[in-house]
Every structure is written in C-alpha cells, then in structure tokens.
Subunit: 231 residues, 2 copies
DNA sequence: ACTTCGATCTCGTAC
DNA sequence: GTACGAGGTCGAAGT
C-alpha cells in the first residue's frame, strides 16, 4: 500500500465526468492497483477513485502542456470499460509504501436472515393468530420468506425485510398474485414485516390490501435468548 | 488526517456485529473524527469504519484483560446510535498526521437530473408531438419525471433514466396505474426514456404498452449549447 | 461470467 | 431534521 499526501487535481471521465480542483489530499494506491483520493472529511467514500483491475501510466509533467508550471507528475489510470482517472500532482508532502499482506477478512453476524429465523420461531410476534407452515416456501419466482396460517385457516404470505421499502412490497405483490392462482390454498393474505417501513412503501402496501407490521429486532432477540439481554 | 499502519484487531457492534482478526492494516482518522480501516485490496469500501459524528476514547492496554500481552493500545469509538467500534493495536509500523484543510469539493456533470432538465426544455426530442405540462409532477407514490401532452391531447407520463433497467419500468407502471384512476386526465400513455435501455427492460415495457425511447445525452447537450460541442 | 440483492451503504436534495 | 431516490455504488450469493 502506497500513501501519498500531495497537492493534486483530478479528472474522471467514464459513466460521468467529474473534476477536483487543486487541493492537498490523500492518495491511496492499494496492492491490487486500485486508487482512491480522500479529503479530510466525509464518510468512507473517496472523492474520486478507480477500482481494480486497472492500469496506471505515469509521466513527467510537460511544461508545454502546463502553462502554470505547478505540475510535477501526471498519472493516468484506465480500466477495462475505458473509464479514465487523471491525477496531476504538485507538491508531495509525504510518500511511503508498506507491505501489508493478505487480510484474513471480516466476519459478520446479525442481518436479515437472523430476523427471518426469529420470526419463523415465533410468528405470533407478527400477529397473534399466526402459525408457521413453512419458512422459505418455494415458488417459481422465488421463495416466500414465511408462509403462515391465520386463526381462521386462511394462508398468510409474510415478506421480511430489515428496512421496508417499495421494492419489498412489489416482491410480495408478485408472490401473492402467484399464490392466489393456486386454488388449493384458498384465500391468501399478505403481510409486510420490517424493523422500519418507509411511508411510501406503506401507502403502496395498504393500497393493495397488504398489512404492514413493524417489529423490534432487539426485543425479538431478547425474547428468544433472555440470558443475552443487557438490561 | 492521521494515518497509522499497525497490526490490529477490530470489533464492531451496532446494526450488526463484525470482527476482524489480527493483521496489519491501514487505520485512517479524518479531521471530522471518522475512522476507517483498510486492507491492501478491495474497492474503496473499508473493512470496518465509523462515520462522523463519533467520539473516540483511548486507553493503555491492561495486561489483566489481555492475557496474550500483544495489545499496546485500545481505542473505543462510539456514535450517537450507540454503535461501537473497538480497535486493539499491537505493533505500530507508522503513525503520521497532516493538516489538509477544507476541500473545494467535487464537480459532477452528466447525471439524470441534467438529462431530465434538457428533456423538459425540449420534450419533442422524445417524440415530436409532445409538449410539457409539468416536470416532477407529484403523486402520492412519488413524482412523475415529466408529465406531457401528446398532439391528440392525451397525457403522456415520461420516466427518465440514465440507464433504463427493469425497476424503472416498474416505477413508471405504478405511476400509470395511479394516473389512469384519475378520470380528469382521460387516457394516459407511458414513455420510458434513457440513454441505454436493457433488452429485458424493453421487453417488459413493450409488453405493458409502454414505449421506449433512447436519447443521446451529448447530442441533447449540443443542441442546447452548440458552443460547448467538442466535435 | 453474469445477475440479483442487501448494505454499519453514502450522498444529494426536497420537504 | 427527516425522508426519499440514485450511485462511477461495493460485495456476496446464486445461476
């Protein structure tokens, strides 16, 4: 990994064009050839970047092409799609490189699957009269997260999301259309379950007769494993 | 901006939990307090991070809590939601800080809004008989990009995308369903406009009676500002 | 290789 | 502030 602190200007041309005026920034070149340019604030997204695989060519500044004469080096980076990143360097305040080696990588836990599992174990957390028929109930257009049965015997298709947005409602709508064609199932209701549901998604859902239920992930986890509760 | 190259291990607990085993990595601390931890490959997304605003507290390693004795420093970072990032540091290979100052920021060009504006100025570029009724016509499920009127007096809802994919067709379909319920509007057509349209998206659109139109962004810009044309 | 989908998404922008 | 849509998204999982 090579880290450079330098005054630079940058131009990107690809799916869009973008320009960075002269300023002092961090330029990071990773071992895989990828490059990112960071300012001193903002979240992790760089101001500009080029992902691997890409090819960099370097050239000394040509005074004829740089009337202001502040350029010392010009880097051109290009990827397979023909996107280009041009970095002009002026004063270099620091330039160092390190061998980091391969990273063992990140281990995650606790995403949407977990929420689905908790609700499969206790569908009454969604609505008191629900009982599970099958989790990941297969259909030709994909799996329904939870297929349940209501107190009155009718089937209920449940779509589980961490955040309920409009495309989740579309997904459930497609499942319901399909399930309702299956005359063996009889009446089939839809329930959209999420930790948070966006207002627009709720409007669309209710307009289609789909109920919306918000669930508390931490409470569910607590109910499932009381010993893990912190308070 | 502070840049540290060090052997470290990291734990995140928040919307999910994640762990990074011991390895040598880059730790970047920006002036706004945000932190990111990078390996030597991968695109710009860090292995782990904490966005500003957040608060870091530092403590010397306590041998009693670290039987292996490799820890030299322990950093705890916390944000407003209570998410925490714990970074344990061992050998520090490099540690340096720089004053970068405020960045003048990125200037972009060529995004969807610009395309929408150009088409709003001249809807005949979509179809010769179209005239604009309203840009960003509001509905309960979101704004229609362009509401136009055809030569025969019927309304035309136009969805503009840079790249036309299937979700754009879905979006326009929802608008059309809604607009057609409004008896004041009478007949409402749909037109899907983009620089490129994926074959799958076109199949779905045509199947639903939605016309597809490809537009040339550069030509539109050229027609609008002939002096800016490069060739 | 390509596609689909979630994300500790990030980022702008309108309300 | 909150909510919503777009992204040069990134990254993983499945086909």
């Amino acid at each position: 990994m090579r880290l450079i602190i330098a005054r630079c200007q940058v131009d990107y041309a690809g799916k869009l064009t973008a320009h960075l005026p002269w300023a002092t920034r961090l330029i990071m070149v990773k071992a895989d050839g990828s490059i990112q340019i960071h300012a001193d604030d903002g979240a992790y997204k760089p101001l500009n970047w080029m992902s691997a695989p890409c090819l960099m060519t370097r050239q000394e500044a040509d005074p004829a092409l740089d009337p202001s004469g502040q350029l010392t080096e010009l880097w051109s980076v290009r990827n397979r799609s023909g996107d280009t990143l041009q970095i002009g360097l002026a004063e270099i305040l620091s330039d160092s490189a390190y061998e980091l080696g391969r990273d063992p990588g990140l281990r995650k836990d606790g995403v949407e699957k977990h929420l689905q599992r908790l609700l499969a174990e206790d569908p009454s957390a969604i609505r008191s009269d629900l009982s599970l028929v099958q989790r990941e109930y297969q259909t030709p257009i994909g799996p329904v997260d939870l297929l349940c049965r209501a107190g009155d015997g009718s089937y209920v298709a449940v779509e589980v999301k961490r955040r309920g947005e409009i495309d989740g409602v579309e997904q459930l709508t497609r499942y319901l259309e399909l399930l309702r064609r299956d005359s063996l199932l009889g009446r089939v209701e839809g329930v959209f379950v999420a930790q948070q549901i966006k207002p627009q998604a709720e409007v669309v859902a209710l307009d289609r007769g789909i109920a919306c239920v918000r669930v508390d992930y931490d409470a569910l986890r607590g109910a499932d494993h009381p010993e893990e509760r912190l308070f």
